[in-house]
Symmetry: C2
Subunit: 341 residues, 2 copies
DNA sequence: AAATGTTACGCAAACGTTTTCGTGTTTATA
DNA sequence: TATAAACACGAAAACGTTTGCGTAACATTT
């Protein structure tokens, strides 16, 4: 790569000082019209652009936001990034994305790299392993230094910072209510392991709805999927019993789609024999047969919110109280809960 | 935010020079065991970490890779980013993601920001608008300076740099052949506007397969979708005619899924009345009913390749010839082309 | 006793920029 | 004609780091 042209180069070219060049390029009245013209023409011709590293160092500001997420090949997270990027860009920030791959170690290493001055603030969704082990040292270090930090979706209550979450309880509540309304009696919940906060929150909403409808809680209808094992097998077992549930609430799109597939394979009719709702963020629900009723998560909005909180934090002088923003969900009703009759 | 601790702080604390501190922290033998110990303990206690901006400026290296893609809420692109991130990380690089949103202007502005010293190299998939207008000034500027650049998927032939592409021709060829093999006579192609390179390459493979099978080319079976208009309407028109095609090759998953939906709505049986194949990168194809046979694109691999080419370019001294790597596709056969009979 | 070697540190340049504060020269004012 | 502005520029510090070189003070060798 050719070395980039610098102020020093230009200065040498005209036998003037670096500061003269700098001022000339900034149209300072301190520099004569003549000198200014020459320098600007030259700089323009050689496509001079100030080295942003130097500027960042001098201004003690990078205008970069770091984002650490568990994975990127996941529709929900990409919509969030999209939202972050949109808002950040409007405000003149760039986005640096790092993946933890659900690993604690990787998350910590991302923290170390990003908080060494490369970014002005951090937006994080916690890795599964971190949630599992509950080791938050890397967060504590940031908090102690008042480093701008926003957690989203997979948050940690103990950490004192701005947070953005989906209204998981409300979403599951609405969905479960809907299932009750269409006549379901034995509503199964397909969820994640307990340490995944969103999983347990959705379970909470599910339980709340059952209670408020006077339906008894049947623990045997709550299935906790292990994401590291075969999904089709685990979910198949829920459907392939003598007396399967008459409705299913799945905490994500994949679980719901697999349950749908398994139900059809067993010859059950949907929604008449079994109604299915999934939390969603992707396009699958729309294209299954029948299409899946789903709890919509508005990842874009979540990303925008997170970015807004972070940038406010970065640019604010005084200490403000930390906020916890809740993004409400929508229930998109499709054929998997809508009897044609 | 609390100001971060620097070498200068530590130096002042112990009344030594900055260089002494720097050397002590690097375990230099030039510094006495005693001084070294004190300094390291202090630095450790206050969690000193060298400011990476300063290092980047000094070393003239950021260890950051810039990635510019048209959109991120797109399964294919997220898999590519995933691949890039994986490989980059293995090599000690970080990834900065920018979105062009298919806009020429945004792409240019991303170029400007990223090439001002923030990144060591750039991986780009060209925005639709740029392909449409064929204005490549921003690329030319980079090429002239030998700035490390890799194009992927949506590439520009005229630009002299490393490139990674999907074997679009081969993929479409294989898919079309498969359709012929299962007995299709009137194979429609649902593709994009011509200026989208991948679209026209896939069309090329489609045509090649027809020719090699001695099937006449019927231009009226080639449908060019306008992404800015209603997809369901445009694709519906293809199916809802007296004599619809008996097979469809769609250049992406969404087109294929919509065609499938429209066919079912019309009461056509799949694959017996109409067989469907889509290029894919997402999960939709797996969960439609029936599941869609698809041309798999291996975005992860593509990302890894792009990152590898770029990092080699960044780290290589002498000028090497530019490479064009072709990632081959797979044909995943599912029920949409597999008659149950 | 002189020469040499070792130890333990500091100085200063370099990366590229901005900006404050001089300062020498010219021009305008009293 | 002396004095004050106005003009046009340069020096240097600052952001935080690394590193080659210089050098005192002390230790060892011949």
């Amino acid at each position: 790569m050719k070395p980039r042209i610098t102020l020093k180069n230009i200065a040498k070219e005209f036998g003037v000082s670096i500061s003269t060049v700098s001022k000339a390029l900034k149209d300072s009245h301190e520099i004569s019209e003549e000198t200014r013209g020459k320098i600007k023409a030259f700089a323009d011709y050689y496509n001079y652009k100030p080295n942003s590293l130097a500027l960042q160092l001098r201004n003690q500001k990078t205008s970069v936001i770091g984002v650490i997420i568990p994975e990127i090949v996941h529709h929900f997270f990409s919509t969030v990034i999209n939202g972050i990027e949109q808002y950040a860009n409007e405000k003149g920030y760039n986005v640096m994305v790092c993946l933890s791959n659900e690993s604690y170690e990787k998350e910590v290493s991302n923290f170390t790299v990003l908080t060494n001055g490369s970014v002005d603030g951090l937006i994080v969704s916690v890795a599964r392993e971190t949630q599992e082990n509950q080791i938050y040292k890397h967060f504590d270090a940031l908090i102690k230094d008042d480093f701008p930090l926003v957690l989203f979706d997979r948050i940690i209550d103990e950490i004192d910072c701005d947070k953005v979450i989906i209204d998981d309880i409300g979403g599951a509540f609405k969905a479960t209510n809907h299932l009750v309304e269409i006549g379901a009696k034995r509503i199964a919940l397909i969820t994640t392991q307990d340490y995944i906060t969103v999983g347990s929150l959705r379970k909470e909403g599910y339980l709340k709805a059952l209670v408020s409808n006077g339906i008894g809680i049947d623990e045997s209808l709550i299935y906790k999927i292990d994401d590291t094992k075969d999904l089709h097998e685990q979910i198949g077992k829920i459907i392939n019993v003598k007396n399967p549930p008459d409705a299913i609430l799945a905490v994500n799109e994949i679980y719901a789609a697999i349950a749908l597939k398994a139900s059809k394979a067993k010859g059950l009719s949907i929604p008449d024999d079994i109604a299915i709702i999934g939390f969603t963020s992707g396009l699958i629900s729309e294209f299954t047969y029948p299409p899946l009723t789903s709890v919509e998560q508005h990842g874009d909005l979540m990303g925008r919110q997170a970015a807004e909180l972070l940038i406010n934090r970065i640019e604010s002088k005084g200490p403000n109280d930390f906020q916890k923003v809740v993004i409400s969900t929508g229930l998109k009703i499709r054929k998997s809960t809508l009897s044609v009759n």
